[in-house]
Amino acid sequence: MTAKIESFPGVYLKESDFRDKKVLFTEWNPNAQYAWDAGVAIGRYLRELKEGRLTGVRCNKCHRTVIPPRNFCEWCFRPMDEWVTLPDTGTVNTFSLCYVTWDMQYLTEPEIPAVIDIDGTRPAVGIMHMLGEVDPEAVAIGMKVQAVWKAPEEREGSILDIKYFRPV
C-alpha cells in the first residue's frame, strides 16, 4: 500500500509557529491536584519510615517477603500474613546516572536513581531511591549500600525520610 499511496496526511508545526503565533491555539491548565489515600499498607510503611525503619510484609503461602508492603499477596491473591521490619541495608540491583530533569533541563552533576534490593527480602526485591555520597563513576551493580536517614525531628512519614543510600 505504501508503494501505491502518493502522500500521507499530517501537517508538521515547529515550536516557533506557536511562539510567533503563526497558528491559532488555546492553552488550559487543568490544575489537577490530588490527595491520594496512602491506604492501610503504605500508611503503615510511612509511619514506620518516620520511626527510622523499613517495613515489608510476608505471605506464608508463597513464602515471599516483599517491600514495598501491600495488604494482599498479588501472587496468591490472599491477605498478607505478617509485617516484617527489614534492615536498612541492601544491594544495588540497577542504577542510572541522569543528567536531565523531567522537563528536560540539564544538570551538571548527575542524579543517581537506583533499585536497591533490601536485605531480608525473599526473593531479593527492592525499592527505588537515590544514591548519594558516592562518585558516579564508582557506582556498580552489586554494590552494598545503607540508608542515610534524616534526623528524627525532621522526619515526616515520607520516603524522603531516607535522604539517600550510600556505599557501606
Binding site: M1, T2, A3, K4, I5, S7, F8, P9, G10, V11, Y12, L13, K14, E15, D17, F18, V23, E27, W28, P30, A32, Y34, W36, A38, I42, Y45, L46, V66, P68, R70, E74, N93, T94, F95, S96, L97, C98, Y99, V100, T101, W102, D103, M104, P110, E111, P113, A114, V115, V125, G126, I127, M128, H129, M130, I141, S158, I159, L160
Partner: protein
Amino acid sequence: MGMRHVRRKVAVVGAGMTKFVRRAQETAKELSYEATKMALDYCDLGLDQVDCVVHGTAPDSFDGVHMKGEYLADGSGAWRKPYTRCYVGGGTGVFAPIHGWYHVASGLFDVCLVVCEEKMSSCQPHPQGAFLTIFDHTTERPLGPNLLWIFAMEMNRYMHTYGLKKEDIARVSVKNKRNAADHPCSLLGDADITLEDVLNSEVLAWPVQRLDVSPVTDGAVALVLAAEHVARRICDKPVWIEGVGWNLDTTYWTNRDLCYPRYVENAARMAYDMAGITEPRKQIHIAEPYDPFDYKELHHLEGLLLFDRGKAPEATALGITQRDGDLPVCPSGGLLGVGNPIAAAGAMKVAELFWQLRGEAGARQVPGQPRHGVAQAWGDLMQVGTVLVMGV
C-alpha cells in the same frame, strides 16, 4: 487453552496512517479522521458498511481531553455505532486490533474499524508531566523522578546481566533509523546514520543516550478488520489474524526481574498457541517488536522466544535482523525511526505487517515472500505485553 477452536477467521483488509510528526496542526479528531478515511478508501468501504469501531488512545492527559475516546469517536467513524475504547499505554497499538479481532471473531460483527491515535504535543511543558504517573505517587514521585530513569535502569540491568556494551545495543538504533528512511511517514528516518553517531549522542540518563530513544510524536493509524466471508469478497489478499495474546505483570516494577519481560513471553505463547506456531524461529518470517528504546527491541525479541536470552544483540551484530537477513526485525523502521505516538505506534507495526505480507511495502519490502509475521507492543506501567500473529 481451547483458542484453536475459534472458527470464525478474521483478516485485516485495509490500513491507513498519518505522517508521524513532532507537533501536528491537526486536532486529535482530524488526525483520527485522516488515518481512518485512508483505511476505508483503501478497501472501498463506506461508513455505512462498518459495523463497529474500536478505538485505542492513551492517557487523556496527553491530548488534554477528558474522555478522549468519546471525543475522538466521530473522527474514527463511530457516529451512531457500537464503540469501544481500550487502553494499555504503549501496548494499545496491538491491544486495539486484538479487541477488534474478537468483535468480529465472536460473530457479533462482520466489519470493524480499529483506530489508534495520539497527540502528545498538546501536553506542556512536556508529556513527561503525564508520564510521571508511571511512578507511585507516594513512594516514588517525591524523589522527583524522570521517566528516563526507569528505562535507563532496565537497560543497565540487561547490559549487566549479559555483559553487553553500548555498541551491542546501539546497532538496533542504526538499523531502525536506516530502515525508516524508506518509510514515507517517518519522523527520524536517516539513511546515513552510523554507530558512532549513536554512541556520540549526548548522555541523558546513563546508559541511555539521545539516539537510543524514540521521540514524543503525534499520529494516527487505522485498520479495517473483516470476517472471512467479507474479506474474501472485498480484498484480493486478506492478511489473517492467526493468533492473539496479551498479558499483564505486576506494577511493583522494583520487585520484577528487569532483564527479562516475562509478560511478553506469556502473551507470545498465547498467540503462538492459537496460531499453531510451534517453532517461532522457523515459522515467523518478520518480527515487529516494540522498540521505544533500542535495548527494548532486544528485550522483546527474547521475550517473543525468537532468540535465546541475552542472544538478540549477537544476532543483530551478525545482520540476522536486517531486512535481507534471516529474520527481519522492524523493517518499518520501528518507533526509533518512524516515531512514537504512544497508542498509534504499535498499530503502525500491525499496518507494516499488513503491507509486508501483501508485498506492498515498497522500498521497505522484505524479500522472499514472507508469510507469517508477529507484531508486539508494550507499555502501561511498564508491564503489559500484547502480541498479534498475522499471516497469508
